[in-house]
């Protein structure tokens, strides 16, 4: 996020070239997606693994969270594939 702002201001003498803008937009999108995933994953795995918050994150909770993270990624990929194939089928029908 800082990179974007500083580059814009440093390039005030001339126009930023299209390639640079596209690269930076791509980075921004990737960051936004990672944040989105992180937030939802934290939410879901907290709910699944932390029954009653204790004084520490104990061993079994950590194991559960690790497993939950992996399954959330599996779920994400499964959903992505299913949605993609649905789109493909609908496109073929038109």
């Amino acid at each position: 996020m800082e990179g974007f702002g500083s580059d814009l201001s440093s390039g005030s003498s001339g126009k930023m070239d299209t390639g640079t803008i596209m690269e930076q937009v791509k980075v921004q999108i990737a960051v936004a997606n990672a944040q989105e995933l992180l937030q939802r994953m934290t939410d879901k795995c907290f709910k699944k693994c932390i029954g009653k918050p204790g004084s520490t994150l104990d061993n079994s909770e950590q194991k559960c969270i690790a497993m939950c993270m992996d399954r959330y990624m599996d779920a994400w990929n499964t959903v992505s594939r299913a949605y993609n194939s649905r789109l493909q089928r609908e496109r073929a029908r038109i």
């Binding site: 299209t18 999108i29 995933l37 497993m67 779920a75 299913a82």
Partner: protein, 90 residues
């Protein structure tokens, strides 16, 4: 503001269109993963078992069906009321 130069660039315009489309896809994947996680996931195990995977796939299909059904039905009810709401929707 002064972003005319940006939006007028056809290469950039096309890029933004494609990225927006990709982003809508991603956003819906995030959303459906969350919804279907609640429906399909019991206790996270060492592996995503096939029953759960089938549940996720069905969940995605039915979620999209639901969305389309609602859209169609709303359209239908709107159409049958067109004479009534014409002045409002136009």
């Amino acid at each position: 503001m002064e972003n005319q130069g940006v939006t007028a660039d056809p290469q950039l315009q096309q890029f933004i269109e494609i990225e927006s489309q990709k982003q809508r896809f991603q956003q819906l994947v995030h959303q459906m993963t969350e919804v279907c996680w609640e429906k399909c996931m019991d206790k996270p195990g060492p592996k995503l078992d096939s029953r759960t995977e089938v549940c996720f796939v069905n969940c995605v299909e039915r979620f999209i069906d639901t969305s389309q059904f609602i859209l169609n039905r709303l359209e239908q009810t709107q159409r049958s009321k067109t004479s009534f709401t014409e002045s409002m929707t136009d």
